[in-house]
Amino acid sequence: MEHIFSSLSQFWEYTGFANCSWQNLVMIGIGIVFITLAIVKEWEPMLLVPIGFGMIIGNIPMFPGLNIGVYEDGSVLNTLYQGVKQGWYPPLIFLGIGAMTDFSALISQPRLILIGAAAQMGIFGAYLLALSFGFAPNEAGAIGIIGGADGPTAIFLSSKLAPDLMGAIAVSAYSYMALVPVIQKPIMLLLTNKKERLIRMPVPRQVSKKEKIIFPIVGFLITAFIVPSGLPLLGMLFFGNLLKESGVTRRLANTASGPLIDVVTTLIGLTVGASTQADKFISVKSIGIFALGLLSFVIATTSGVLFVKLMNLFIKNPAKKINPLIGNAGVSAVPDSARVSEVVGREIDPSNHLLMHAMGPNVAGVIGSAVAAGILLSFLG
């Protein structure tokens, strides 16, 4: 009888109930909130469902040493997590993004590329703020990249610069990407007047196939020669786009933009979520990262909108003016931020469609954030 009780007692020690802490419960609660937002509000469900469930997986209280946790060498979760830790997943996602992205909007109006550059101010604004809050330069760089509004880039850079903060940075980046409509809209309305919001932009010209094929090659050469440290992201992005536009590798493009990106997105979301193990995640630093992440999105949106207004000062022809509502799309949350431009634009003029114009700075933002990540890596890596 005594032996049975001792066995039961031993079994109890292995259960989640015996090893549970309030931090685990908080993180499980956050995971459930993420899943609820994804299903009920449909905010970035492709990301929030895997991340939310990953958070629950990662925070099931367990007896250490069973070789099942995400931070335990050789466990299944740890093996899958290597794609995040070593930085394989982000370039693979960029391959898929490249194969899905149509750069026509950008090629037909090359001036919109500059908006994508302006919105990267969010990265460096957050970098300055993080330094002033006492973060080390490498940590500040990793936090700043949240302002690029690009989850894979944030994971890639933080895995190189500040691996300890990667979980918080990734969750922060993806959460704010899901909240883009909530964060950006008030800023856009605050910074523009009715007259500006009513600006109708000229219809983009039709882009030839030749231009679409040359763009990824020239784009890659220019950006990679300037920032070789961004090679994994830039190379995959432009390679994926060449697969799509060449027209002769349709099967490869379909795989990259379909099954491959789906598999990697599932794994990256799940493992990033699982990496938010309460003992590693809940800290004052994490709260600081979330606050700075929000500020970086605000700065990025503000600088994008203000930059368009600045550009308009130099455009004399009223027919060529740019609607400042597309300035927010300079962050690389594709296509959510472009969709915000469309929605806000149609609220004041239902016949003014800004989506195709906003896609230009939006895809420029993808390139811009990869370039910015490369620069930070070369300075701080």
Binding site: I107, A372, F379
Partner: protein, 304 residues
């Protein structure tokens, strides 16, 4: 011939690529000939001279099968065992080999002892190619070593230092107190303004260059060529004006909006203003093939 040339070029490129992470990336980074009483001891508790090899590449290099020698006439004097798995040297890592004079001491021991005034050679696994060498000055004091330091930030080219150095076996030379990039940045740019300004400038330059390139190469020529057919359209626009005038006249005569609408449509059609460009759209007109016609598909009853 063309195939042969392309194969040869590809092979050459492949060979060059392979060369990027092989034994040629090894250097003799440090050597100490005469240890003093504070010198490092080998696994047998002896203080002997030692040589440090360094892998300057960013990939792992296996130096098993290479040779060390202090005699130019005998390049295979002290072979390094091929079969030992421990002879793999990671990127930017170093390894120490004790010059005990007895090869039987183990993998990390040489078959000769070091002496001042001699040159040590690292020889490739072909036994002929000298990969690197290091001269130990005659005047090198006991307990001091001769080291090589990188010439530039890329750490590809190294140069032997003239002055004796404090031995740093197994450590990166001159790197003991070196700060990481982040630490260096914290010291030189504590508030981050310099990095931010430089980075923003680089991001803008990269994307502005892209804009300029595409504006010059495609956007500008495309817009110019789009303006050219507009001149040709003058005739068409005249036709449109004629159509509009007809519409007005008809409207005045009949008071009917239908004609005005028709004329406006004609005008828009002639001035080519209502058409989307829809290349590659193929309309398939269905033609009955009779594949489902039972009368045609049934086998006829064979006539007897």
């Amino acid at each position: 011939m063309r195939k042969f040339l392309s194969t040869a070029v590809l092979s050459l490129l492949f060979a060059l690529g392979l060369n990027a992470q092989n034994v040629s990336d090894l250097i003799i980074s440090e050597a100490l000939a005469t240890p003093d009483s504070t010198g490092i001891m080998d696994n047998y508790g002896r203080r002997t001279g030692w040589v440090e090899l360094y892998n300057k590449s960013t990939g792992t290099v296996n130096y098993g099968g290479c040779y060390l020698t202090d005699d130019r006439a005998n390049l295979k004097k002290s072979p390094i065992p091929k079969s030992d798995l421990r002879t793999k040297l990671g990127p930017r890592q170093s390894v120490m080999l004790f010059c005990s004079g007895k090869r039987v001491d183990g993998t990390f021991y040489t078959g000769f002892t070091l002496e001042n005034g001699k040159t040590i050679y690292l020889v490739s696994n072909d036994g002929r190619t000298i990969i690197d060498s290091l001269f130990i000055p005659e005047s090198l004091p006991a307990g001091m070593s001769v080291i090589k330091l990188p010439k530039d930030i890329r750490q590809r080219d190294f140069q032997a230092q003239e002055h004796p150095a404090v031995p740093s076996p197994g450590l990166l030379n001159g790197d003991i107190n070196a700060a990481s990039k982040a630490d260096a940045m914290a010291a030189t740019d504590p508030h981050g303004w310099t990095l931010s300004i430089v980075s923003v400038s680089v991001v803008f330059s990269a994307l502005a260059l892209l804009w300029l390139m595409f504006w010059l190469l495609f956007d500008r020529p495309a817009r110019k060529s789009a303006q050219k057919p507009a001149k040709k359209k003058d005739a068409a626009s005249n036709e449109g004006e004629v159509a509009a005038a007809i519409a007005l006249a008809l409207d005045m005569e009949n008071g009917g909006e239908v004609y005005a609408a028709i004329s406006a449509a004609v005008h828009l059609y002639l001035s080519n203003a209502v058409h989307d460009v829809e290349p590659g759209i193929v309309t398939i007109v269905r033609k009955p093939s009779g594949w489902d016609n039972k009368a045609l598909n049934f086998r006829k009853t064979p006539k007897v």
